[in-house]
Point group: C2
Chain length 344, copies 2
Amino acid sequence: MSVAATLPAVRPLDATASRAAAQRQAQLLKPPGALGRLEELAVWMAGVTATPRPDPRARIVVAAADHGVTAQGVSAYPQALTAQMLAAFDAGHAAIAVLAGHSQAALVLVDAGVIDPPAVPAVPAGLPAPSADLSREPALTVEQLERALELGRSLAAQAADDGVHLLLGGEMGIGNTTPAACVAAALTGASPAAVAGRGTGLDDAGLERKQAVIARALAVHAGTLNDPLEVLRRLGGGELAVLCGLALGAGEHGLGYVCDGVIATAAVAVAVSLQPDLRPRLLAAHRSTEPAHGLMLEWLGLDPLLDLGLRLGEGTGAAAALLLVAAACRLHDGMATFAEAGVG
Amino acid sequence: MSVAATLPAVRPLDATASRAAAQRQAQLLKPPGALGRLEELAVWMAGVTATPRPDPRARIVVAAADHGVTAQGVSAYPQALTAQMLAAFDAGHAAIAVLAGHSQAALVLVDAGVIDPPAVPAVPAGLPAPSADLSREPALTVEQLERALELGRSLAAQAADDGVHLLLGGEMGIGNTTPAACVAAALTGASPAAVAGRGTGLDDAGLERKQAVIARALAVHAGTLNDPLEVLRRLGGGELAVLCGLALGAGEHGLGYVCDGVIATAAVAVAVSLQPDLRPRLLAAHRSTEPAHGLMLEWLGLDPLLDLGLRLGEGTGAAAALLLVAAACRLHDGMATFAEAGVG
């Protein structure tokens, strides 16, 4: 595929800024290390932004798409909800819209292949069709995949131009824990039973059906899954591809990227497979209740910041983590050193 | 002791408001339960505040005190830092002052027995002396204990009068992980080796010394430790007693109480021993790196919200948790129901 040939290089973290931030943390009015991960977050943000006292300006990008695999009965909700939720994001009704306002992060909506999309100001992905049924054929065409990846990368470029430091990727798509689980199984080698979760609320019969669909999909596409882009194209979907491009673009343009739940993390896992240098720019926001999420976080070597039993997606876990990143940066900037405070 | 006879009753959570909040959560624009602990926090706050759509108005009370047991070499820092840090809280230099500003929570400072306290507007506790060396004699006199408990209760009453819903108790006191560990051992039956941690940064020799001091203290006061108030008086200290009173007062006046780290949680453990009905009004903010903290949280049956490797005290973990409580309440109030959003 042509996309692989043009994969962007990842800008490394700024070691000078990281070092300066770590030195500042060692001088602040507390025993060294006593603020634990809040110190690590500030030092990480310094490296990400190349600024010793970083400002966590953030943008949330929520990509929505529909999935042909819903025909196999893998979701507890009807497909029409994807379009309705996209409208609800725009209207401020949904969780991620409330959290975006609460954390003063801009919210960008992406139509990555929604059936009958609402007339809201969402960025169009050039993906008018939902994904095909991945249990029978590739989810996306080569062209759909390329367009979606490009769109994600261009959204990262735009964010960098706008002075954003941190991208949070969220998603909405009825049925999309199934592609995420398939991608997780293909990349990590885990079994269908290990990656299948209840998603938005499957009962036992639904869960068994989902496992069987995942197993069938892996069998249908077997032999093509050594290439991460083929994994994404055959087993993913529009929002996964946009988020994969967004994460790659974050690396390319020197932003930090906050991984949300199982779907967003599946997209990131593909991005890291393509470009391992991306890993230092990633923050795992939380551990969701979907089993494939924990598997992928471990596979990525990421230690999630929160464990709140979330399983909503939309970027809500990433937005919750952003509250701690902002607090960490505020502490880093606002606390006095021992010398400044005349203590000790 | 006279204090026990006047222990206040705890106001139970408001079941009607909790039920209304839980019903609202079930109707909001998400699969039921998909926001995990953020849903639980909103429902809990509804019960705490007797309001179906609660507002998390919070106040942070930081009590500072000195400890005679520092003569035994149980801290990596000199005792004079307690007074200096009290000044730094007032000046806005310290972590908790930064977080209080960040989360828009008022910060109340209490002198609970600081040597040479600074001239800052701290509430005086009527405890002009630091605690005595608990490894040789009771840390507090009966009068000191009673005054400190009363002060804590009166601060809770004042908060309730001021329309506060949530109290966060923090502390500062060089050497105070030793009394906290002693209280933890006395209440839970754990061994000195199990409760002793490195505090602000003890080396191996310091840790061994601390274990021996804890063992000596438990031996000196053996036979008197069936009474939680005697545990607090003999093995505690001024800030532990104020925070114990504050937690009891939160129960009495119908507030929620957020438990911070090992010292604040030791104070809460005494309060719950005296008044088990307090438990539903408690939120465990985080799990610190001090081993006695995890032991007490388990003993209290509290599941901490965060695990960030914090070990600073001051109320910083509670303030970090407050960010999530505020987000949970904002989601609870700001999200639309399926019906309101016209979805489904």
